[in-house]
Symmetry: C2
Subunit: 351 residues, 2 copies
């Protein structure tokens, strides 16, 4: 039984979507226990308002112990800085959930809350894996090839990075890609502006030769923005500034394209008919690009499984994030990362 501590209060659609996602995860995923952490009264309010089917599922899950509610008394206000709040409010939902993981009462943490706040709480409560210089947020993005998503890290935890940190990002991303995404020999690339070794900024030029030296990762060199979505790469390493811009740009262009397409499809009755006939195709396209099904972003480098999902997560995103949390905890990603980081330090020492 994998136990997931789920932050009920984090995200734009909390607590409603989180509670629904919790019920669906507890009911739909075998061998999982969801510990739903937040203000009891607010969680209860959502549970009471659920449609009959879901309410039944919730009832059954609670009775069988698959869903448990853990009260977190402190409330983070809308106008509070989330990072300050986790520092000051010891018993806000993020901290209470994180402590469940720390104390071994849960195997993984999942939240749609502010990523900076989650990272702060994680590093404060759990510490880092020995030898890890900087934990990084890794994001899973779809590519042209079904079931071959690409992991991009760091996606926003560290702005100005040292080459050594990027080497560790590569090692950590490699372990996650193997254990959770299921790639046997992940192809690892360095995000840059040309494929030649010499292309890039100072940081990538210093990082390139270091990555070439790392045993056990399949470093394939620089990758350009062009190549990200081709489905020929498994892990893309960059600093958190570039990763965050890349991620948000991707979302932005995808939304702009959908917007343009929709506008064009409503021009005249024939086009509307065409759009109706293609409804299934559009739905498939949407789900192909849907970041929600990719299970959110793991915070790699802390000694337990921590998954951050998009602030706008729906119940579906929560379901997939819980699923990713289960996969990461079951496959002991943190343990694998600890092992790889230690081996790499050993290699460096021997030189």
């Amino acid at each position: 039984m994998t136990r997931i501590a789920l932050d009920a209060m984090g995200g734009d659609n909390a607590p409603h979507e989180i509670v629904v996602g919790a019920v669906e995860s507890a009911a739909g995923l075998g061998d999982v226990q969801v510990l739903l952490v937040g203000q009891l009264s607010k969680i209860q309010e959502v549970l009471d308002s659920l449609p009959k089917d879901l309410k039944n599922d919730a009832q059954k899950a609670i009775e069988s112990g698959k869903l448990e509610i853990v009260h977190a008394p402190d409330n983070v206000e809308m106008d509070e800085s989330p990072v300050d709040a986790v520092r000051r409010k010891k018993d806000c939902s993020i901290n209470v959930a994180m402590r469940l993981v720390k104390e071994g009462r849960a195997d993984a943490f999942v939240s749609a809350g502010n990523s900076g706040a989650v990272a702060t709480s994680a590093i404060f409560n759990l510490g880092r894996i020995p030898g890890v210089m900087r934990p990084a947020i890794a994001t899973v993005l779809p590519t042209r090839i079904p079931r071959r998503p690409i992991l991009v890290l760091d996606a926003g935890a560290n702005m100005d990075c040292h080459p050594d940190w990027l080497v560790q990002f590569a090692i950590m991303g490699n372990a996650y890609s193997k254990a959770v995404i299921g790639r046997t020999t992940p192809k690892v690339g360095l995000v840059s502006i040309g494929t030649e070794d010499c292309k890039g900024n100072e940081m990538t030029k210093q990082t390139f030769p270091l990555l070439k030296e790392v045993r056990d990762i399949n470093f394939v060199g620089n990758i350009e923005g062009h190549d990200l979505f081709k489905g020929q790469m498994d892990v893309a390493v960059c600093d958190g500034f570039v990763g965050n811009v890349l991620l948000k740009t991707t979302e932005s262009i995808a939304k702009a394209m959908s917007y343009w397409l929709k506008r064009e499809c409503f021009r005249g009755p024939w086009r509307i008919l065409g759009a109706l006939l293609l409804k299934g195709a559009f739905r498939a396209l949407k789900s192909q690009m849907d970041p929600e099904v990719y299970g959110g972003a793991p915070l790699l480098g802390v000694p337990k499984t921590v998954i951050i999902t998009h602030g706008s997560s729906s119940h579906k995103a929560i379901y997939y994030a819980v699923k990713a949390g289960v996969a990461a905890a079951t496959n002991d990603v943190s343990g694998l990362i600890a092992k790889s980081i230690a081996e790499h330090a050993e290699d460096l020492k021997q030189k």
Copy 2:
């Protein structure tokens, strides 16, 4: 009459597409003379192979003096580094065309060749506008709003940037947006990872207060990847590494989406029918996103108009790049930039 020196030999589809684009520009744009620069024999070969209509247009344009061929004897080989080639081969097409601009025999330069090579030749032959620290490549990208593209710079000329350079990029982008894109008060933003002043990396945090001080530009603060394509911003400033990654990622995701959509549309006869009915909509979507109609990327900061178009430019891209070159030269973008840069230096001195 605006005279455009067009590099016939640069780009993946040279010389064929360039020659066709040259003929179309000379025939289709009023008051423009195209000086087509490259190896005479190769250009002639393409002209001879044109279909009848185009051949007639070419003949007429040559006879009326709207199209002129200028021989550039040096050939750049496939395996040569383009940047090295412009340094070594004084009479390659890029250098010959650039000298036409330098000597006042042409008003603007257009090439689909390697951007590094064009920038090198431009800076060597034309120098910089007094006070400009680093010329930058600006790229025009479509947004949700028709006819409100966004200018992103630097798109790849300078990797590691100083905050002062970014301030100048903002000033130069502002002038181009006014003069060529036609925005009266362009909104200028700094690409970062959050809208608050304090968000970003060291460089953006140092750049933010400097941009706030610049008179005459409408600096609206940080912009995130999210906001790039919403059509609420006119100029986005970033270093050349981030700009290049952003640009190529955009192309990559757009291609991936088209690929997925196409695949879905061929699943079953009803979908194929739907796709046929939506043919016009798809075409409109494609042209909306088509980077070719946005006229390529100006190199800003050199004292003459230099336009670089995508390496894979078709004849249509060449036509629009020539058009952009005419607009930039006619509106004296370089003069406006020189004026803004000088005024800004004056402001700094007075402090």
